[in-house]
């Protein structure tokens, strides 16, 4: 063997040894899409998990793809369309189905294989799982909406906290005083996801939903009754008109001139921060409907983008956050329930007794997305809100509006096929 050949073989062997090592040590950057990175309530979880992961994996950097939630989806969808989605995608309980359906999310079964995540975190809430058993996202948190009560106004009016529809209406009327610009209740009553859910609260309160056995059913008696009840509240003048979004709803209740609001646990922190005087008088009770069922369920999830070249590392990150320790951080900092087992501790409940209603009612939560129509959630919210606004502001009869809505939705679904 010539010296030249020997030298070349030695070089090849050296390369074979060096290349995998250097590849392994190549710095990798993951992009994480979230709307909560700078939110004081959630940043302890995100920055904490990212810092811990980067410390354990010095060659990995996680960069946030962070925008406010009302801007995130358009930007994210454009990145997806361009074929450069962030590796890790935080999604909501509403749009996760659309992303699953459009092939945006990668199945996580392989990622979770050999771990207890499927049994522990996803056992009860099989949320982002398709009919074939493919898991597309890790549940992060769950929520319900409950009744926030301004005790001072209730005492002043001599009214008991309502427990059903009849008492709810009576209390709202008793608390309303136009001479003081005081209202019994505040709910969003303009096209917004909050209006959709406020109406759904009433429909669920009559024991129904917008579908039956996975098929749209807007003419069901429960739906008609629920929408009619919402309309009755609106017409009774017990709630301000033109409440456009969550911010407006907060403002009304924060003013101390509204007796009741239906909201999530996250509102507690907003109230404490923006209206501490009002917050001192606020108590939380189960939603006062006849069925007593709240709307809610899994609301924040995280998945890996399909085709991500960093699937394995992204998977390691998901596994690193699916722990009770990080669940406790989520719950403690945000005041909302992490879905990690044991994340809502007795210690937390002891320090935050207001949260107990949310914790108790969570297992009863009825999904916000329409069963069977989850992949069209955004469109369903738009179509439903369009008709509800006609009921509220144009006085269109509820039966007629719901018949037209049924037709709208059937045409929409037919158009998709």
């Amino acid at each position: 063997m010539s010296r030249k050949l020997l030298l070349m073989l030695s070089l090849v062997c050296l390369l074979l040894v060096i290349v995998p090592v250097s590849a392994q040590d190549d710095p990798t950057t993951l992009r994480l899409a979230t709307w909560q990175w700078e939110d004081p309530a959630y940043s302890p979880f995100w920055t904490g998990t990212v810092d811990a992961f980067q410390e354990a994996n010095p060659n990995v950097t996680i960069e946030p793809f962070n925008f406010p939630i009302d801007q995130l989806w358009d930007r994210l969808n454009i990145e997806i369309a361009a074929g450069t989605p962030p590796d890790l995608l935080e999604v909501t309980g509403f749009n996760v189905f659309q992303y699953m359906n459009q092939g945006v999310l990668a199945p996580l079964n392989q990622c979770f294989e050999g771990t207890d995540i499927v049994d522990n975190v996803l056992a009860e809430d099989k949320y982002a799982v398709d009919d074939d058993g493919n898991i597309y996202a890790l549940n992060l948190s769950a929520r319900t909406l409950q009744l926030f009560v301004n005790r001072a106004l209730f005492d002043e009016a001599g009214v008991d906290v309502p427990t059903n529809f009849e008492e709810f209406m009576a209390a709202a009327k008793a608390l309303t005083d136009p001479s003081k610009d005081q209202y019994g209740l505040v709910l969003v009553d303009l096209p917004h996801s909050r209006m959709y859910e406020a109406v759904l609260d009433m429909v669920v309160g009559y024991g129904g939903h917008f579908s039956t056995d996975g098929e749209p059913n807007f003419t069901a008696p429960e739906v008609i009754n629920g929408v009619q009840y919402f309309k009755d509240l609106f017409d009774a003048g017990v709630m301000p008109q033109g409440v456009a979004d969550g911010g407006a709803q907060y403002s009304y209740f924060n003013s101390g001139k509204v007796g009741m609001s239906i909201d999530g646990a996250w509102y507690w922190a907003v109230l404490q921060q923006n209206a501490p005087d009002v917050a001192a008088n606020v108590e939380i009770y189960p939603i006062p409907t006849d069925s007593g069922l709240p709307t809610g369920g899994v609301n924040n999830l995280i998945g890996i983008a399909a085709g991500s070249p960093n699937y394995d590392i992204a998977c390691d990150y998901l596994k690193s956050i699916a722990t009770q320790e990080w669940g406790e951080v989520w719950t403690t900092s945000s005041g909302t329930a992490s879905t990690m087992p044991g994340a809502v501790t007795d210690e937390f409940l002891g320090a935050n007794p207001w949260f107990s209603v949310f914790a108790q009612e969570l297992p009863k939560a009825v999904p916000v997305a329409i069963p069977g129509l989850e992949i069209y959630h955004n469109d369903m919210v738009r179509l439903i809100n369009n008709r509800i606004v006609e009921v509220l502001y144009d006085n269109k009869p509820v039966e007629q509006a719901m018949e037209e809505l049924q037709s709208d939705v059937e045409s929409f679904i037919e158009d998709q096929q």
Binding site: A82, Q98, V104, Q241, G242, D379, R382, N386, V389, D394
Partner: protein, 312 residues
């Protein structure tokens, strides 16, 4: 073909011929603009038309398949498309009539000699100088049923008992967005018409006065014919602007209540970014471009007729 030169005349060198009027110089000078046009206008337009012939979805763009004219046939068979087109026509017509009418009246007033006329001419341009988004926010508050000044004034003079939800009732939502659009656009009409009015020789009015013409007759037979071309231009410009407007309808009503204010631009946005159907949205955009194109052709024909009339 090579240019022939007499034997006695020495042909200029090749490089000089290249840059003479018959060489490539004109093309070289035009090239940057043409390249920019191709990149920023022609390519997106052609790509948009191609997308309209596919089933492109924003979330799986790479899987788009050619489906021919299916997007168009589906759109033309849907009530909501015809509703959107009808709303666009009503919105455009209303906005143009109102903004042109107010613009004409204010231009006539500002053409008169009065104290602080210069200040008034400056102030009238404020709505025009205000960004569309700011305009919508101002009017969003103005129309608010609880705290909006419009309802407060109407209540104080006893015309209404409770606040009218202007933006949320089918019967008032379109009127509301037309008012907002006209408020933003009328100064444009005012200033252009004012320029036209100032080009009318004062002698004509003086002669008419001597002949005993009334104010109305002077307006009818001198002012209007003199600014006919100006009016035509401003009407077409206002029509094109209103036709493609998105901000007002989207920010104030999001196309609602129901589909009462769903104009074509809003419908296109909903299809593209709420339903992610890029193919369908591109078909809508293409149809909108066609309608706009027809308006532009009408504009050029009308301008051509006016010019021919003046020359004759």
């Amino acid at each position: 073909m090579e240019r022939a030169y007499p034997r006695s005349v020495k042909a200029p060198p090749f490089w000089r011929r290249l840059f003479t009027s018959r060489g490539i110089l004109p093309y070289a000078l035009l090239a940057p603009a043409i390249i920019a046009l191709i990149i920023f206008i022609v390519y997106p337009l052609v790509d948009g038309v191609y997308l309209s012939l596919t089933d492109a979805n924003l979330l799986k763009l790479s899987q788009a398949q050619f489906i021919g004219a299916e997007n168009y046939t589906r759109l033309l068979n849907r009530d909501v498309f015809w509703q959107a087109l009808g709303n666009t026509v009503v919105y455009t017509f209303g906005s143009v009539v109102l903004s042109f009418g107010i613009g004409l009246i204010t231009a006539l007033i500002l053409n008169e000699d009065f104290r602080f006329r210069g200040l008034a001419r400056t102030l009238i341009a404020i709505p025009w100088a205000t960004p569309w988004l700011v305009v919508t926010l101002i009017w969003y508050v103005m129309f608010n049923p609880q705290i909006g000044p419009i309802n407060q004034v109407l209540k104080s003079i006893g015309l209404i008992q409770t606040g009218v939800p202007w933006l949320y009732q089918s019967k008032t939502a379109m009127i509301a967005i037309v008012i907002v659009t006209a408020w933003r656009l009328f100064p444009q009409a005012t200033l252009i018409i004012l320029a036209g009015l100032q080009s009318i020789p004062p002698d004509l009015y003086e002669a008419a006065k001597v002949d005993g013409a009334s104010s109305w007759q002077r307006f009818r037979y001198i002012t209007l014919p003199s600014i006919r071309t100006t009016n035509l231009i401003i009407i077409v410009l206002l029509t094109i602007t209103s036709f493609k407007l998105f901000t007002i309808a989207w920010t104030l009503t999001q196309g609602g209540p129901g589909t009462a204010t769903t104009v074509l631009s809003v419908y296109t946005y909903q299809e593209a970014f709420m339903s992610n159907r890029l193919g369908r949205a591109s078909a809508l955009a293409t149809l909108s471009v066609l309608v706009s194109g027809i308006l532009v052709i009408i504009y050029f024909i009308a301008i051509g007729r006016e010019n021919n009339g003046e020359e004759a």
